[in-house]
Each structure stands twice: as structure tokens, then as C-alpha cells.
Symmetry: C2
Subunit: 212 residues, 2 copies
């Protein structure tokens, strides 16, 4: 709890050197990765600032310094997992043609990759059982993500439509990866994408999607 | 907690009479309702056969007698909540016209009603965090429910399609009622139904739904 920015800490009694790791952008990245690991492995409830600091090999004060409260570390760690927010513009691209397929393909791809799946499942589990985690997901992640998609759509109720599309992807994730209910759990990704793409396309681009 | 069917039970030392309540179909119903309450209020983890027996005012042995293991009581309690399995035939009706709208209306109605919502949310929370609960949902509930819908459909991959439809309804429930993300959380039910109905209709009746 003692490290001031820029002051290299002396080595002490056989513990790993914390010279360069305790401050700077490197420390910030390691804190975020530690937070992501801790939240994924232990869930929201059992993760603490102190535990994250330990995993990252820094002082707890530094975690507070960079991120503030536990909820804020959680939000930042989620954002790291949700890189989608950054990729979305590319998915939308210059044309809405094929948008549903690109978006479905992207999300299923994120879920199919165990590296991105684990923290996302952890986030969803936490959000299902802890209001604080739900709030983080709601306020920091979903609002931004949906806003970013909606901004690029040229339809009425764009945010509502983006959220409906997101709800479908969330539901597929719950049944396929969490409940593991067949036949969805074993269906090839391409089959799911092919079925879901027209739905997302309709939600995101059809001027009057309820009048099909 | 003391009333046996048709037989006024004598009062004894301030504790509820268990004369008629300890056996028979009446006790079975009360055990199920107690199980539903306990699972909803305490979650899967903290609910026990002993606790259910206490809530129902019967001996734990009777719970075992009627239902077997904790998982089996859980499954029966879920089924009680999921009365949909019984209502589905009416929703399908004699024609597939308007099926998407009837199904969306039915599910949103179940979720909008706080009485049916609470135990369903509890089941989903349990299933997200406990493999035993997920298995119950997978094996006892989803398989039957999806099978019953799929049996009435005249399309290839009927179970897969029914599950995709179900996944959308699950995802909407997660974002609307659990995460409470706007604008979906405050959207009027009719608006959601109008948007989702064509999706369900396509999944459940379109002969080549990925070729929209």
C-alpha cells in the first residue's frame, strides 16, 4: 500500500521484484488482466481489490489509484473482454448488406473462442446473481455497446433494435454454453449463424420490422 | 400450514396440526409449492430437502418418498412453474398462422406476471451458477418443452428451431428483467411482441428460414 508513482521499490526478503511492475502502463495492464482472471475464476462476490492486487503483484493502493472502486475495476475488466465495442464499426462497415451475418458471425466467434468465452460467462453469471455486477454490465457495457451500434443504424428505435439483437445472442449463449441444451449445444456455428443472420438483419435494417 | 382436505384439524399446543397434511395428494402439492418457494427465495444451493419439508410442514422422509433427490424435487418444482409445457398445444392450435405472435405473447405474459416470473428467474439464476440445476433444466424441462413444440411443427430441424426461438425469449428475459438494460427494460410488452413475433414465426414455420 506504499508505492508512490515513479519510486522504485527495493527488493525485500525473497519476494519477486516489483521494481518496474508496480507503476506505469505496464502495471495498469497487468491489473486489468489480473482483475479479468480473478472475476472469471472466483466470480464477482469473491473477488476483492486486495486479491486483484495480489494476482497482479502490485499494491492494492495502486489498483485504487488506477480504477477506483471494485465496481470500476470490474467494468474495466469487462470492457477488456468486450472488445466488440471497438470492433463494431468494422462489422457495420460501409453497407448494411450482410450486416446480420457479419454480426452473428462475430458474436458466435467471440463465444466459440474459449479465451473470450470464459470471462464473458463469468460476467453473465455475476450479473445474474449480483445487482452490483448487473449494474456494471447495464451502465458501463451495454449502454456503450448498444449506443455504438445504434449510432450507425438508420432506422427508428435503433437502440431498442440493437438490444433485441443483443438479447438473441445472449440467449443463444445461455442455452448453448451454460445450460448446454441440445441440439443447440452441438450445432455447428455456421448453422446457427445462417439461421440468426436474417433475424439480426431484420432488426437492424428493416424500416418496419414488425410488419414482416 | 395445517388444513387437510375437508377435515377440520384439531388445534394442538399452538403448533399447526400435521394429521392430514403429512400424506396424500394434498401433502404432495404443498411440498411442491414449498419447494418452489424455497428455491425461488434461497436459490438452488441453499435449499435442502429438510428445509422444504419444514416449509411444507411435513417430515423430510415424505419429501424423499414423493420426489426422491433434491434434484428431482427441483425438477418437479420447475415444471410447476413452467406450466407452458401444458399450454403449448393451445398456442400451436390448428394453424401455424399467427403462431409467432401467440408464442411471443404467451412467453412475455408469463414473464410479465410477477407470480410466474419470480420462480423462473430463480431457476435461471440457479442454472447459471450450478451445474446440477443446469442439468435439471436441460434434461427435465427444456427437452420436454422443446420436444412438445417440435412435435407439432412441420419443418426440418424442428427441435433446433424451437430451441432458437426459446433462446430469444430467454435472452429477452435476461436483459429485460435481470440486467434491466434500457430501452428493453421499459419497453411496452406489445412492442416487444410485435418485433419478436415475425422472428419466431420464421424459425417455427419457414421451410428455409436461413434463406430470407
Amino acid at each position: 500500500m506504499s508505492v508512490g508513482a515513479g519510486s522504485p521499490a527495493p527488493r525485500r526478503r525473497g519476494r519477486p521484484s516489483r521494481t518496474d511492475a508496480t507503476t506505469g502502463p505496464d502495471a495498469r495492464t497487468r491489473i486489468l488482466e489480473a482483475a479479468r482472471t480473478d472475476f472469471a475464476e472466483r466470480g464477482y462476490d469473491k473477488t476483492s481489490i486486495r486479491g486483484i492486487a495480489k494476482t497482479a503483484g502490485v499494491d492494492a493502493a495502486l489498483v485504487h489509484h488506477y480504477f477506483g472502486t471494485k465496481d470500476e475495476v470490474f467494468a474495466a475488466a469487462i470492457e477488456l473482454s468486450f472488445e466488440p465495442a471497438l470492433v463494431i464499426p468494422d462489422i457495420l462497415g460501409s453497407s448494411t448488406e450482410g450486416l446480420g451475418e457479419r454480426l452473428a458471425g462475430y458474436f458466435i466467434g467471440v463465444w466459440e473462442n474459449p479465451v473470450s468465452r470464459a470471462p464473458l460467462l463469468a460476467v453473465m453469471r455475476s450479473a445474474m446473481t449480483h445487482e452490483a455486477a448487473a449494474k456494471v454490465l447495464r451502465v458501463f457495457v451495454l449502454r456503450r455497446l448498444l449506443g455504438r451500434i445504434a449510432d450507425q443504424l438508420d432506422v427508428p428505435d435503433a437502440t431498442f433494435r440493437a438490444e433485441l439483437a443483443a438479447s438473441h445472442m445472449v440467449g443463444i449463449a445461455v442455452l448453448r454454453y451454460v445450460i448446454q441444451a441440445e441440439p443447440l449445444a452441438s450445432a455447428p456455428p455456421e448453422k446457427i449463424i445462417a439461421m440468426v443472420a436474417p433475424t439480426l438483419q431484420r432488426y437492424l435494417t428493416d424500416p418496419s420490422p414488425s410488419g414482416d
